[in-house]
Every structure is written in C-alpha cells, then in structure tokens.
Amino acid sequence: MNDVMRIAVKDFQIQVKSIKNYVITTLFFVLLFTVGGLGRNTMLLPILALFVLYRFINYSMYEDEKNNTLRLLASLPLKRDTIVFARYLSTGVLIVVLSILLGSISALLPSGEAGSTALVLCIFFVYVIMISIYMPIGFKLGYIKAVNINRFIFLGLFVLLGAVPVLLGKGEGPQDGNALASVITMLDNADHVLIVAGFALVTLLLYIISMKISVIFFRKRTLF
C-alpha cells in the first residue's frame, strides 16, 4: 500500500466507532421526518448523506488537530502533498459511495420517493462544491478556524441557492415559480450519458483545482 492510500484508509479506520453514531443519527432523522409527515420528502436522504459527509471530513480534521498528529506525520519521510492527496482521496471515495447509494435508492424506489437521477447528480455536485471550498480553508487554517469560516460560507451558499430559484421564478419560469424543479425536469429529459459526463468532468476539475490550492496552502502552513 502506498503512502497516500495508507493515510486515506486511516481516515476511515479512525472513524469506525463513529459509524454507530452516524446510523443512530440517521435513524433519528428518518423517524423525525416520518412522524412529521415528511417521509416522502425527496431531500431527506441527500440531507442525511450531506450530514455524514460533513461529519466525516470534520472528524478527520478534528482528530489530526486534537491529537497534533500532523506534527508526527511531518516528522516522517513523507511529503506534505501526500497528506493533502490522501484527504482528498478518502473524501472523494466517500462522495462516490454516498452518491452511488443515493442513486441506487432513487432507482429502486418509485419515482418521487427518493429523488430522481438528476437530483442525485445535483446533490453530488453540491457535495463537491462544498468540499472544494472547505478543504483548502481547513488545510490553510486548521480545523477550528475552518469550521467557523465555513459555517458562514455555507450559510451564504444556502441562502444564495434558495434565492436563485425564487429570482428565476419571477422571470420566465413555470407558473408555480419553481424554476429549480423545471431545471431538474429538463435534466431528467436530456441525454443522461451526456449529463453524467458533463457533471463528472466539471466536478473532477473543481476537485482537482481545490486539491492544488490545498497543497499550496498546506506546504506553507506552520505546524510547529
């Protein structure tokens, strides 16, 4: 196993105990949404997946920060770039696994129960945007500062994402004003292979740019 793989696997190994917490929290939310009459909400599963992803990255960064293990890693025959690559690899694997899981569920359930393929792609894209913003900040400033800064960034993003459909709805959108729904419908009706390829290319590009920025930041970061 090479060094990148070893560190990436470590990110999962140190979180084995947290899987129990993820399952409990997920079940809690499923129960909460079901009791609240939102069981058929298409956004439930993506939100839970987003929660798992966010917790995973946070926990990996937190463990390194809390235990100061980045210092020990820096004393080993390792390039700092390797540590960055490994974090992107482990997170990337988790994004793909979660997206496949969501895609499988959406394919198995009747239409509208868990969201369409297009919705899964949109969510996959949102995950990548989120990680691509979060990770460079984390590698530059460390976990504690990154969490606080990202909180504001994501809040802003959500407000922006929420505002876009409303603003679009005021223009030439459908009568109910839900432009996002029309975008999703449009994507659903388009050539799936083309869309998947397009999304994959854009997200991969975004991810690689983010990784390059993280490498630059982490090389310059003072660990001691």
């Binding site: 196993m1 060094d3 070893r6 470590k10 190994q13 140190i14 105990k17 463990e63 809390k66 235990n67 100061n68 293990t69 210092r71 020990l72 820096a74 004393s75 080993l76 025959p77 390792l78 390039k79 003072t222 660990l223 001691f224």
Partner: protein
C-alpha cells in the same frame, strides 16, 4: 571521524527569539547530549534538523547530505522522538506502531512488535490508556523499528518521573549499543545526559556555548570558590557565572591553571577551593552568565 550531523552558521529568526550562527558537529556512532535551559533553542535546532521548520541561513548536513534537498531521504535513516507524543488516541498501540512505522521503507514489523513487548506495552491497549512514559516508549519503538542510523530525541524524558526516565535511558543505551546507531539527545535534565552521553553540546539563548567530549568538558572545567579578600575585576573576569557571597565568590573556568596562577600573583597565600563540576553546574553557571550580560 565521520559526522552524522553537521551544522554551520544556522540562523533562524522568530519575533522574540532567534538562533544565532549555530554551528556544531555530531560524530557517527556516539551519543551526543544537547543541553540548555528551557527556551534556549534546543527544539528549534532539532526542528531545523528534521526539516520541520524553514530557516533563514546556514547549512545543515545529515549523513553528509543537505537537510532540505534530501529531507525525505534523510528521514528514512532517522528515528525521531519529540517532546510530546502525538498519536490517534482512540487507536491501539499496535495499530499506531504499524501505521506510523510503515512509512519507513526499512520498517521491520516483527522487530517493532518485539520492541513493544520489550517495553512492556500491550499492543491491544488504546493510546489514550497509556501513561506519558508508555507513550514515549511507543514513540521509541516506532523510531527504532526501522533500525535507524541516527536517533534524534527532543527532550523525550521531560515531565517523566525518575524511575521511568532511568528506564528509558537504560533502554536507549542498550538499544544504541546493540544496533550501533548514533544518537542526538536534547534535554534540560543534565543528569540524563551525564548518564549516557559521549559528547555534549551546550546551547543558551540561541547560541552554542560549547561542544566537546563529555569527559573532556568535565575534566577541563573547574569550579573555584575563593575568599572575598581576593575579589577583583581581573580575577572575576576570568570566571564564568560568578556568584558573590558574604564570605567569598565562586565561578567556573575551563582554564584552571591560568586562574590559579593569576590568583597566586594577585593574592599570594589566598585560600581557595577547586572542585570538579557537573553538567548541571555548567548549565546553571552559563545561564547565570548570559542573564548578567
């Protein structure tokens, strides 16, 4: 004699502290103690050695190779133990040994586990359940598991009780003897250095004060206690870390014959005592001297 560490004119600046023209060499196959009080610059020098922090000027060579250009190549041949031990607390000692150890291409897993056994560490125990002394031993097992040519230890015994400290020093001396590797060992606990070091380098306020064989330092440097009637600027100027008391004054020098000659010339029949010094005396007097400058 070939050198494993060679530092020339090392300068590193912080806002409130700097390393000033640090130069010394550590010979291959010996234990060099690196002593200085807290904040003297020991850890900063070691971090520069390990390419953990950048430095402004100077040259550091490890095994004859530049420390920055060949950082990874050098690190493969080094075992490093820092002052604080950083592990994933929720993982076991065995997992930590393998995870960190396998980054070294020459890692010997069986040997690593045999070291854990020798250090009396249960591999299935979580790191969070280990005492500070045990964590140091775990770090030593990781550092030694790839049979390094050079062991760099940054105050590993700091904050440990004397029993554990002694145990670690014995383990270290034995291992070094068996494995034939060189050791660079920093500490402000001079008795630890006195027990195991062959060479000693003293640093104070970012400057190297002296670097020599331990026995040579101890035999060369002497403590003088002289009655006050002989006190004069010329004599005081020949001593380092002078303490003045009600009945006399004391200080150390590495030129005892010259001091005695001068004392007899200026103060014939003077009553004085010349004593051997310990590294502790040396460090205390050097620290006192730099505080008065």
């Amino acid at each position: 004699m070939s050198m494993v560490i060679s530092i020339n004119g090392l300068c590193k600046k912080y806002e409130k502290f700097s390393l000033k023209d640090v130069s010394f060499q550590a010979p291959k196959g010996y234990i060099m103690g690196f002593i200085g009080r807290n904040g003297a610059g020991k850890s900063t020098v070691i971090k520069c050695l390990m390419d953990m922090i950048p430095f402004e000027s100077g040259k550091i060579e490890l095994f004859g190779l530049d420390s920055r250009s060949f950082a990874n190549e050098n690190k493969k041949r080094i075992g490093y133990v820092g002052e604080d031990q950083y592990f994933y607390e929720s993982m076991t000692a065995g997992w930590s040994l393998e995870f960190f150890g396998r980054f070294f291409s020459d890692w010997d897993n069986d040997y690593g586990y045999s070291l854990l056994k020798r250090f009396d560490i249960d591999p299935s125990k979580k790191v969070s359940e280990l005492s500070k002394g045990m964590k140091v031993k775990l770090a030593l097992a990781i550092a030694l598991g790839h049979r390094p040519e050079l062991l760099i230890l940054d105050e590993p015994t700091s904050g440990l009780d004397p029993v554990i400290r002694n145990e670690i020093l014995e383990l270290l001396a034995e291992t070094v003897q068996d494995e034939n590797c060189s050791v660079f060992f920093s500490s402000h606990i001079t008795t630890d250095i006195e027990k195991i070091a062959d060479y000693v380098t003293v640093i104070d306020d970012g400057r190297i004060i002296l670097s020599d064989e331990k026995d040579s330092i101890i035999s060369k440097w002497k403590m003088f206690k002289v009655e006050n009637s002989c006190r004069g600027e010329e004599l005081l100027g020949r001593l380092i870390g002078v303490k003045k008391g009600e009945f006399g004054f004391s200080g150390i020098t590495d030129k005892p014959d010259s001091f005695i000659k001068e004392l007899n010339r200026r103060c014939p029949g003077a009553r004085y005592k010349m004593e051997n010094i310990t590294l502790d005396d040396l460090l205390v007097r050097i620290a006192k001297e730099s505080d008065t400058i």
